[in-house]
Amino acid sequence: ATTVTVGTSGQPKPYTYVDDTNKLTGYDIEVLRAIDKITPAYKFNYKKAEITAVLGGVDSGRYQIGANNFGWNPQRAKKYTYSNPIFDDSYAIVVRKGNNSIKSLADIGGHSIASQTGVNFTLAIENYNKAHPKNQAKLTYTSSEVPKVLQDVQTGKYDFALLDAPLYKNINQQYKFTDLKMVVLKKSDVKKIGVPHSYFLTAKDAQGKKINQALNRGLAKLEKNGTLKKISKKFFGADYSPKSE
Amino acid sequence: MIKIKGLSKSFHNNTIFSDLNLEIAAGEIVAIIGPSGAGKSTLLRCLNLLETPDQGSIEFNQVAYQAGAKISQTQLTKFRQQTTMVFQQFNLFRQKTVLENVLEGLLVVKKLSRSEAEKIALEKLTLVGLVDHADYYPGQLSGGQKQRVGIARALAMNSSTLLLDEPTSALDSELVGEVLATLRQVVLQNPNQTVVLISHELAFVQQVATRVLFFDQGGILEEGTPEQIFKNPKNERTQQFLSRFNQQVFS
C-alpha cells in the first residue's frame, strides 16, 4: 500500500485534537481512519504541524491530505482539490446574554467582531462590509485563539463572535460562559458564509486527484454503512454527517 | 589662604591620617613628598572633596567646609571652584576636543558665554603651547601634550589653588621634561597662584617649591624649605626616604 501523509494541526477540538491519552483523534481524524481501513491501496500516516504549515505542507507535497475542518471557498478551491463533504456544519453567532440586537447576519452592521485570518467567517464579514459600505461591521483581525475572542465578547470588548456551533458547544463545556449565548444561524445565513460543509484537501495534481477519488469512495461507503453518523454522534452528540442528495 | 584643621580620613577602619593641621598662604608652592601609600593623594583629594573627610574642616579665603555638615550643591560647586586639579592620568574628556576640554568648566560650571569662554580657553592653550591643537581629540595627542591640556583646563578655571597629583608620573621620561617646563613657566608667571603639588620629581620640587612637606605614617613628619629638607633632613625617615630617592635618580 502507498503511504499517504495526513497533515493536521491538532486543533480545533473536536474536529482534530490529541486526547488525554496523548492519542490524535477527532471527527476528521476518525473519519480518515475509517476510510483507511476500507481502502487497501493506501495507508494513512498522521503528522501534526502548525495550522498554516498544514496548508503549506500540502502545497509543497509534504502532506498529501489536509484534515483540519477545512471549509470551502473559491480561492482555496483554486489551489487544492476538495473531497466530497465530510461534515454538515452549523454556524452560530455568539453574543452577551441580554444582547438581542444581533439575531442574524443582517444585523451585524455597526457591531464589532474579532476574527482570525484564513477562515470563512472572516471572508463573510468582509463580504458583508463590501456590500454595506455605510453600515460595516467593525472587523478586527487577530491571531488570538477562539476562547480568547469569546472571553473578549464576554467582557464587552467585542459585540459578537461568529463560529461553528459545535465548536462553541465544546468550548463552552470547558469555560462555562455564563454570560454568553449562542444564536444558531438560519440556512439562508449559512449560505452567505459559505458552503456549510467541511472537507479534506488534497493537492491539485494527478496524485492528489487519485487520492481524492479514493477518499470519496471511502466516504460514500461510510455514509452507507452508517459509520459517519456513528463518528459524528461520538464527537458532537448529534448527527452532523453529510447526506448525499 | 588655606586652613586645614583637625582633618581625619579613614577607609573602612584603615586610618590614613587623623587630626591633620596645615596652613598654606596665598602664593605658596607646597610640595608634598613621601613614600607610596602614605596618604598624599588622599589628602590632596580631600581638598576638593573628591574624598569626603571624616572629621575636621577645610577653609579657603571665601568658603569653608566642615566635615559632617550638610552642604548644598551650590556651596559644593563654590567650594570646588577654589581649587582645580591636574591628574596623574590626565583624565581628559576623550570625546571632546582639546578646546572643548578647556571650555567645559567655563561653560557648564562658570556659565560664561561662549565667546568669553573661548577667549580664556585659547589664552590658556597658548600658554601651554597647544593652541594649534585646539581641534585635536585627546587620542591624537602624546602623553605630554595631554597633560598640558590638563594644565590648561585647570588654569582656565582661574581658581586660587592648583592641585597637582604626580602630574608627570604617567609620562615617558622624554615627555616629563615637556610638562615640567610648562608647569614651571605657569608657576613662575603667576606669583599669586597657590600650588599644592605631589611629585616624585625631586629635582623639580627643589626648583619650584617654596615649602616641602614630608608626609608619612598618617601625618606631616617634617616640613621646611627645599633647601632644608633635601640638604639637611632632620627626621630619620625623611633621610631614609631621600637617600633612596637620590640613589634612584642619580644612579
Binding site: 496548508l55 | 573628591l50 574628556f93 621634561g177 614651571r184 613662575l188
Partner: protein, 263 residues
C-alpha cells in the same frame, strides 16, 4: 503542473505589505525609545543597589530574558483582562480595559522587553565609563546630573551602541508577533493576505525580503551613527607641524625668578 509557487505574487505582495511598514516602525521606534529610557533607569537602580526595587527589577529582567516574547504578549494581553475580570467579580470594581487598544499592550510589552534586555548592556556601558573623566568633571564642579548628561551618557552610548543595534534589529523582527494582540503590522498583514489567497509561502518570502532590507538599512544607519559618535577615535589628525619643546629643564642654569615672564 499546479502552480505551487508563483513568484509574481511575491512582487505583488511586497507593496501591499509595505503599506503596513509605518505600523512596524511605529512599534519599533516607540518601544526602542521607552525601552532605552526604562533600561537606563533599571541600570541606575542596579548600579546604586536601591534596596527592594533592585531585587524586584532583577526578577523582572530575569523573567523577561527567560521567556519567549510571545508568552509575554500573551501574559499582558490575555492576563491583564482576566485579572481585572476577577477583580471586578470579587471586589465589585468596574475596571475595564476593553477600550484600551491592543497597540498599547503591544507597546508596553515590547518596551518592557527592550528595557530588560538593554538594562544589562547599559549598566555595563555605564560602568565602563572612565572613572577618571568623572572625577575630572567632579573636580571642575559639575553636578551629578551634569556629569551624567555631559560625560557619562555620551561615553556609555559609544560603548553600548553595537549591542543596542543588535537589540533594535531583534525588536524590529519581533514586532511580527504583535498580531497576537490583534495589532496589524506587516507580518499580520501578510497573514491576512495569505488568509485570502492561501499563498503562504509567497507572502513569507515577500516578508523575508522586506525584513532583510529593513535590517540592512538599520545596520547602515547604526554604522553611520557609530561613525559620527566615534569621530574622536577614528580621525587620524595630521601630526602637529612643529613639536613644541620647552627646553627649560634641560639647562638647570636658566632658573628664572618667580614673577618673571618666559619667552
Amino acid at each position: 503542473m499546479a502552480k505551487v509557487f508563483d513568484p509574481q505574487l511575491v512582487l505583488r505582495d511586497i507593496p501591499k505589505l509595505l503599506a503596513y511598514l509605518p505600523e512596524t516602525l511605529l512599534i519599533t521606534i516607540i518601544s526602542l525609545v521607552i525601552g532605552l529610557i526604562l533600561g537606563l533607569g533599571i541600570a541606575m537602580v542596579k548600579i546604586h543597589r536601591v534596596p527592594v526595587l533592585d531585587r524586584l527589577l532583577a526578577i523582572f529582567v530575569s523573567f523577561t530574558r527567560g521567556t519567549p516574547i510571545l508568552v509575554q504578549l500573551y501574559v499582558t494581553y490575555y492576563g491583564i483582562p482576566i485579572v481585572l475580570q476577577y477583580a471586578n467579580y470579587y471586589w465589585g470594581t468596574h475596571l475595564n480595559v476593553n477600550n484600551v487598544p491592543g497597540l498599547l499592550f503591544v507597546l508596553v510589552t515590547f518596551s518592557l522587553n527592550e528595557a530588560a534586555y538593554n538594562s544589562e548592556n547599559i549598566r555595563g556601558a555605564l560602568q565602563a565609563v572612565d572613572a577618571g573623566e568623572i572625577e575630572a568633571a567632579t573636580a571642575l564642579g559639575e553636578t551629578q546630573w551634569q556629569i551624567l548628561r555631559r560625560i557619562i551618557v555620551p561615553e556609555a552610548f559609544v560603548i553600548a551602541l553595537p549591542t543596542l543595534g543588535n537589540a533594535l534589529i531583534s525588536l524590529m523582527k519581533n514586532t511580527s508577533l504583535a498580531f497576537v494582540a490583534s495589532v496589524v503590522e506587516m507580518t499580520a498583514r501578510g497573514q491576512i493576505i495569505a488568509g485570502n489567497d492561501y499563498r503562504y509561502f509567497e507572502v513569507y518570502l515577500a516578508l523575508a525580503i522586506i525584513y532583510w532590507g529593513l535590517t540592512i538599512i538599520t545596520e547602515q544607519l547604526i554604522r553611520l551613527v557609530e561613525k559620527r559618535i566615534t569621530r574622536f577615535q577614528q580621525q587620524q589628525a595630521p601630526q602637529p607641524a612643529k613639536k613644541v619643546n620647552f627646553n627649560l629643564l634641560k639647562h638647570p642654569a636658566s632658573v628664572v625668578k618667580r614673577g618673571e615672564t618666559l619667552d
